[in-house]
Symmetry: D2
Subunit: 134 residues, 4 copies
Amino acid sequence: MDSMNAVICKDEFAKLVGIEILEHGPGRAKVKMAVTPRHCNGLGMVHGGAMFTLADYAFAAACNSHGFASVAINASINYLRAPKGAVLYAEAEEVAVDGKLGSCLVRVLDEDGGLVATFQGLSYRKGPVSAKQG
Amino acid sequence: MDSMNAVICKDEFAKLVGIEILEHGPGRAKVKMAVTPRHCNGLGMVHGGAMFTLADYAFAAACNSHGFASVAINASINYLRAPKGAVLYAEAEEVAVDGKLGSCLVRVLDEDGGLVATFQGLSYRKGPVSAKQG
Amino acid sequence: MDSMNAVICKDEFAKLVGIEILEHGPGRAKVKMAVTPRHCNGLGMVHGGAMFTLADYAFAAACNSHGFASVAINASINYLRAPKGAVLYAEAEEVAVDGKLGSCLVRVLDEDGGLVATFQGLSYRKGPVSAKQG
Amino acid sequence: MDSMNAVICKDEFAKLVGIEILEHGPGRAKVKMAVTPRHCNGLGMVHGGAMFTLADYAFAAACNSHGFASVAINASINYLRAPKGAVLYAEAEEVAVDGKLGSCLVRVLDEDGGLVATFQGLSYRKGPVSAKQG
């Protein structure tokens, strides 16, 4: 198991929320979440925290794909409309990585492929992923 | 049960994540999360999505405290340092509400009271909370 | 002169800052700023406000390209590194427009084509651009 | 002239935009801008870049008040409503500074004291302000 896989596969919070990884490669990732009543807020809509966590997991998979442990230092999410259908996807693409800082764009899509949220993440590269973390 | 309570108490995702509300009033709220291994990412740190969800729940409680259903349209979070201890708190304070848009600041604190993240949320007021939502 | 041109060409602040538009089309725009000592902050670096204004102008050109007057309601900018050379460019691409809300990604590049900042804007569509505004 | 004054007073872009500093102290600052036609966008409203620059200058003054040179790495601004009157103010308050990273909240107020925008800045502390910079 490579270092990226280790970081991604050992993510307990992603398991709790029910997120699975579909694809990943250098600077990119695609993840999926089947929407259930447990993902809803008090207004009966998918919780902003659930959509954020989905986007954040794709972000983490994309920016930890270079063999370095990166942490998020800022994330900004725009919620554009309520999702339709029973599945959400997030697709992350690193748009820049320069020295210590990296910027990543994530699109959150619903079952019909409609864009429901956009997410911009700023990552800070700490160092190589250690055996302990893996 | 008033409308704010309904919105807050019926939040299934907050239950899944293990967040409880400690205090709330007009334009403010304080919430708590006991940190467990389920809240961690693959690097063994508290997941950014868990901290975001904690802050987002405080934000929702604060901006839904006026009898109107408000939804988040943007949120930006700064992660300042890794938290210490076994509990996290989030304190939300609405800094402005003007017409349809509201802005809310949330501080995320660890067990020692140290500030670990700051969150700025932008909300959009949709209309009165209906009986159906309650 | 079409409505987009009117909105863009009458931008007095962009003139003050010294920004010119290079290209524009539906949902996209490219703008340019020649860096001078007037664009610097007290540390001798290009001012964050100047880089933001450059990105914001590209964002406005892109999201006002549909014949509707749109206003920014949130913008988040990541500063990745200090720019090199004497020119900055910003390239805006609308990644979603759904109903009233639109999301736009802007890349800020230096003279060598290096990415120095990324910008995510959230726009709100108000209505058709009127003759008065034009 | 102390180091903070040097950083603030030598800001050429703030001069171009017409911003003056009213007050500053450890972790806080208040600045002012008289609104003129030069600050407007093509829709005849105060330009988002001008409001951002005003907030950013207050942010820089607040986070450079400790004798260290700090740079912005992220800023997120919420535009709540169009300002009234002929003057804008920005009030910055550092809400956290821990190690290298600091978070700062800035409120943008119009002539009547109404809140028109909120700004959250993330700063990175580079090192002591040098004589060259002063």
